[in-house]
């Protein structure tokens, strides 16, 4: 069995699970864990989108 994720969905899944682990392991309280996890997720996805647009601009 194999699966074919698109580039974006692969990046989304990666960002989601990495952010969960970062949130749990890098903060003390539950509230801080959620906040930091969300922050990491936004940074991951934001970085991906920015990098994507930069590459698009460089290519043109």
């Amino acid at each position: 069995m194999t699966i074919q994720l698109t580039h974006f969905s692969a990046a989304f899944v990666f960002a989601l699970f990495a952010s969960i682990v970062f949130g749990i392991t890098h903060r003390e309280t539950s509230r801080d864990m959620i906040r930091y996890g969300l922050y990491c997720f936004v940074m991951f996805l934001g970085g991906i989108l920015v990098a994507g647009w930069v590459m698009w601009l460089v290519r043109r």
């Binding site: 069995m1 994720l5 749990i24």
Partner: protein
């Protein structure tokens, strides 16, 4: 002279008594992601770690990612092996079942390879976290 030398040496902090949990939790956490938290009754954290790391690793396999074996060759292969090794029991099971033989010939398979390496590296962080909980450094 002896006094000045002594004064320069750092005061040694009293060592934490090594509890059994501080050894068992990281070991179990390495074998099964999140188990180090589960045996310390951090149920939600343990389950989230298990699902997150486990899903990343399994997705990597399903994407036909390549799993690295112990090697003494290229530095990137060695680093890949160290990353994969972090997944513990999942890595051992994959090797035993002869999985992870995908050739990195297309982008998605390369992503799969990275997914498995990152799953292992995230598990190393989870193991360190379980250890910190066991020694009382973190709640």
């Amino acid at each position: 002279m002896a006094n000045s030398t002594t004064a320069k040496t750092k005061a040694v902090e009293p060592a934490q008594p090594a509890s059994m949990m501080s050894i068992i939790a990281p070991a179990v956490g390495w074998l099964i992601p999140g188990a180090g938290h589960l045996i310390q009754r951090r149920w939600i954290r343990g389950l989230l770690l298990l699902v997150s790391i486990g899903t990343l690793f399994v997705l990597g396999l399903l994407m036909q990612g390549h799993i690295y074996k112990a090697n003494g060759g290229d530095i990137l292969d060695i680093l890949g092996f160290i990353g994969d090794l972090g997944a513990g029991g999942m890595y051992i099971a994959t090797l035993a079942l002869n999985g992870g033989q995908g050739a990195i010939a297309f982008a998605i398979a390369d992503y799969g390879t990275k997914f498995m390496i990152v799953a292992g590296l995230l598990n190393f962080i989870a193991v360190a976290d379980a250890y910190h909980i066991a020694i009382g450094k973190k709640q």
